[in-house]
């Protein structure tokens, strides 16, 4: 029983250490060459030195041929290999690719525009009655008059049809098309926020970690402050403030981008600082200093690439969070405003008195948006998990 188990384990390890084996082969080979080289160094004094070195040369050449046979795997390729081996991360990647194609290539094939009203409509006239009592010479006279509007169109929400696969919403927009444009907003915003956040966080974290002392104190206390602010209320407050300034709808997305970045960099800064604090004292950093590198180069060229794995993982995992925040804000009506599409806004149409009807009777309007959000967040989490496992050198699975 026990033996069997051991055997199994052994099998697994041999399978998994394929790469390692290749490497060890390589080093063994190199050692052989070393020996050849020693002969080479020591022999010149001897009479048959030339002969020996010729032999060594021949051996070297044959070794070189064998060397070419073995593929050298760079760490990047190794990570990619491990990443693509995991099923879950592949699922995530496929989901993400599908979402990207859907939202960026989809509108090209859609026959409707983002703000094109296509739903079934009726021409209506609204009549509002007014009654006014006026006392004239002790007699109360009652006036009735009616406010009659110009004829206008009212759109009815429709169920899915062959023309509109997911029906139309209360404004007469095509839901499927809106879904595509909403995806553009969410994905672009998610990526831009994460990239900005990572740049800002890495820069400040690297400064804090490398210089220490008051720089570290200052930056880390700012990070602490940002970390103890309650996320959602602050975001709502900020978004409401921007609403109050009367920023036009088109530009609101940039404000949203800024807000999300400002409230998101602190985690990355802390991560980078911790890593750099550890890396700074390592031998190769002292060696780098001994070669006369400037501080800027040391940070940019030697420290940050070493933090890259953790950064990539945390950024990928953070993407899901950003998309969720964006959706939440849009849902609350603080994000991308109505004529423009966003997944959160689409779900947001279920709130309020008019929303109850949509929630009950028209799931075709809000469920697809919800599914999209879930898919996007799940995809990023799967990919992030996959990357974490792939980057972890101690992972043996």
């Amino acid at each position: 029983m026990n033996k069997d188990k051991n055997k199994k384990d052994l099998d697994i390890t041999t399978e998994e250490t394929e790469n390692a084996e290749v490497e060890s082969n390589v080093t063994d080979e190199m050692k052989n060459e070393f020996e050849g080289q020693i002969v080479n160094i020591d022999s010149p004094n001897e009479t048959n030195g030339e002969k020996l070195s010729a032999e060594a040369k021949a051996q070297l050449e044959s070794d070189e041929e064998e060397f070419k046979r073995i593929k050298i795997i760079s760490p990047g390729k190794m990570v990619a290999k491990r990443f693509f081996r995991s099923k879950l991360s592949m699922i995530g990647l496929v989901m993400l690719a599908a979402l990207f194609i859907f939202s960026f290539a989809g509108p090209i094939f859609s026959s409707y525009g983002e703000t094109e009203k296509v739903g079934a409509s009726k021409e209506v006239i609204s009549v509002i009655p007014h009654t006014i009592n006026v006392t004239e010479d002790g007699v109360v006279v009652q006036y009735h008059f009616y406010e009659v509007s110009d004829p206008y169109l009212v759109y009815t929400k429709t169920a899915p049809t062959w023309q509109n696969w997911l029906g139309t919403d209360q404004y007469g927009y095509d839901v499927l098309t809106r879904l595509m444009y909403g995806g553009r907003v969410s994905l672009t915003l998610g990526f831009s926020v994460i990239i900005l956040e990572t740049i800002l966080g890495t820069f400040l974290g690297a400064l804090a970690g490398y210089f220490g002392k008051w720089v570290d104190q200052l930056i880390m206390r700012i990070v602490d402050i940002f970390n103890c602010l309650p996320g959602l209320p602050i975001l709502m407050l900020a978004a409401a403030l921007i609403d109050g300034w009367g920023v036009p709808g088109r530009y609101k997305i940039y404000c949203l981008l800024g807000i999300l970045t400002i409230f998101g960099w602190s985690g990355i800064a802390r991560l980078v600082r911790g890593q750099i604090l550890g890396l700074r004292g390592l031998e190769y950093m002292i060696a780098a200093e001994a070669t006369g590198l400037s501080t800027k180069r040391k940070i940019m060229k030697h420290l940050i690439p070493n933090v890259m794995p953790q950064l990539i993982v945390s950024a990928t995992l953070g993407l899901g969070g950003v998309i969720l925040y964006e959706s939440t804000l849009s849902y609350l009506g603080l994000g991308v405003p109505i004529p423009y599409a966003a997944w959160g806004t689409m779900i947001g149409s279920t709130s309020g008195t008019t929303g109850r009807e949509i929630l009950q009777n028209y799931p075709n309007i809000w469920i697809p948006a919800g599914v999209c959000i879930v898919m996007a967040v799940l995809a990023f989490n799967f990919i992030g998990d996959g990357l974490r496992d792939a980057f972890d050198p101690k992972m043996k699975r």
């Binding site: 490497e23 390589v26 080093t27 190199m30 050692k31 060459e33 070393f34 050849g36 080289q37 020693i38 160094i41 070297l60 070794d63 070189e64 060397f67 050298i72 760079s74 760490p75 390592l282 031998e283 190769y284 002292i286 060696a287 780098a288 200093e289 001994a290 070669t291 006369g292 590198l293 400037s294 180069r297 060229k301 030697h302 690439p305 070493n306 890259m308």
Partner: protein, 410 residues
């Protein structure tokens, strides 16, 4: 300048003179007081190092002997820790002549590494500071730098280009995320301005070839984890040679390697020394390595030099009881000993060292005079100096300085 320099030193002495109530225990208050003092002192030093646009006259000096490449002159490197001032290097004076190998030996923690780090200005700041003394370095451009006073940005031109360093741990001294070629090229591109990337690559490959690496083109594209320890040390040596330095500091270059590779690396170092026509400062605790390699030997103990001389003098006629003890504790192939000799006791705690011979308590030749002040370095021959009360009848080094200069003038 002189004024700025002196203030911290005075403060250091004040701390030394403070009498603590209980030597074994320090209260929080005391620790806090020390930390505060330390902060003040180290801040002053750091400020001085960080200054910009320092006039050259401040750090340029004259070599005492043009035949030397480096002169350590009464070097004091202290660490200001919360437990007190650690005098890691306390008044070390020795020279590294051109085209020679100088070995520095001693137990762990005797200050040999700190001496070399001081020469590179790599002492862990802000706790570690060069407090006093000078390190004169003769640069290729004919100038002579006092490294203890060179500002940090100026230092980057000297590091790697004129003085380079080989570290103890080849396994961790290379950045794991870059290829060997990338790291080698970086040094060339940094120190030889105007080199194209292709030229740098050629130079790197040529250098890898020079250090005896088989298939240098192949190694060039590899990552450090794909190489063995010996290969990595060769890469480190190649890296240190790229800019034709005048001086290579080898800080225990063979400690992490096995014996066969050790021999190869030492051979390589010796070959390279003749090739670049420079000097090597070899730091090790392996007496065998020193005997094989060095021209001059410096024996350090607890931050001070106890004996120095040519390799022959130190190995065949050791004078200091510590050196004699070290020799005895070395395993010999020719002798069959059941139990290896070891010097009794251990290195004293370097904080608040009293003024007597630090080796006194472990010495088997201790006598009455040893209770007195720390023995001065005494001159036994031209190169051979020893700091031990057994040789008190010999002339002190400092007194004979004038005689020496007269002799040399002749």
């Amino acid at each position: 300048m002189a004024k700025n320099k002196k203030d911290p030193v005075i403060e250091v002495k004040e701390i030394e003179n403070k009498k603590y109530k209980n030597a074994m225990y320090m209260s929080n208050k005391e620790i806090r007081a020390i930390t505060k003092e330390n902060f003040k002192i180290t801040k002053a030093f750091e400020k001085q190092k960080r200054r910009k646009n320092v006039p050259e006259s401040e750090y340029l000096t004259e070599m005492k002997d043009p035949d030397n490449i480096v002169e350590f002159d009464d070097l004091h490197t202290y660490f200001f820790t919360s437990a007190g001032v650690v005098k890691a290097v306390d008044g070390v004076t020795f020279n590294i002549p051109r085209h020679s190998i100088v070995g520095v030996v001693g137990e762990s923690g005797c200050g040999k590494s700190v001496t070399s780090l001081s020469l590179m200005q790599l002492v862990q700041a802000p706790t570690g500071q060069i407090v006093d003394g000078a390190i004169r370095f003769a640069s290729t451009d004919g100038k002579c730098y006092d490294i203890s006073k060179v500002p940090t940005n100026q230092m980057n031109d000297i590091r790697g280009k004129q003085i380079s360093m080989i570290f103890q741990e080849p396994m961790t001294s290379l950045n794991p995320v870059f290829t060997i070629g990338n790291q080698l090229d970086e040094v060339t591109l940094l120190h030889i301005p105007g080199t194209s990337k292709e030229k740098a690559k050629q130079m790197s490959i040529a250098m890898l070839d020079k250090v005896g690496m088989a298939m240098p083109e192949n190694v060039y594209t590899r990552y450090p984890h794909q190489l063995s320890g010996g290969m990595r040390q060769r890469v480190m040596i190649a890296m240190s040679l790229l800019c034709n330095p005048q001086l290579i500091i080898a800080d225990e270059p063979t400690t992490a390697l096995d014996v066969t590779i050790q021999a190869q690396i030492l051979d390589l170092l010796r070959e390279i020394k003749t090739e670049i026509n420079g000097s090597i400062m070899l730091i090790t605790h392996d007496l065998g390595v020193i005997a094989e390699m060095a021209d001059y030997v410096v024996v350090m103990y607890a931050g001070r030099i106890v004996e120095q001389g040519t390799a022959e003098e130190i190995f065949l006629h050791p004078k200091h009881p510590y050196t004699i003890g070290l020799q005895k504790s070395k395993p010999m192939v020719t002798k069959d000993v059941e139990r290896l000799y070891s010097i009794p006791g251990s290195v004293p705690n370097p904080i608040n060292m009293p003024n007597y011979c630090y080796f006194r308590d472990r010495c088997n030749k201790r006598f009455k005079t040893c209770d007195g002040a720390y023995p001065e370095l005494r001159k036994l021959s031209k190169h051979h100096n020893v700091a031990c009360h057994l040789y008190d009848d010999k002339p002190a080094v400092n007194q004979t300085k004038d005689d020496n200069s007269v002799e040399e003038a002749k």
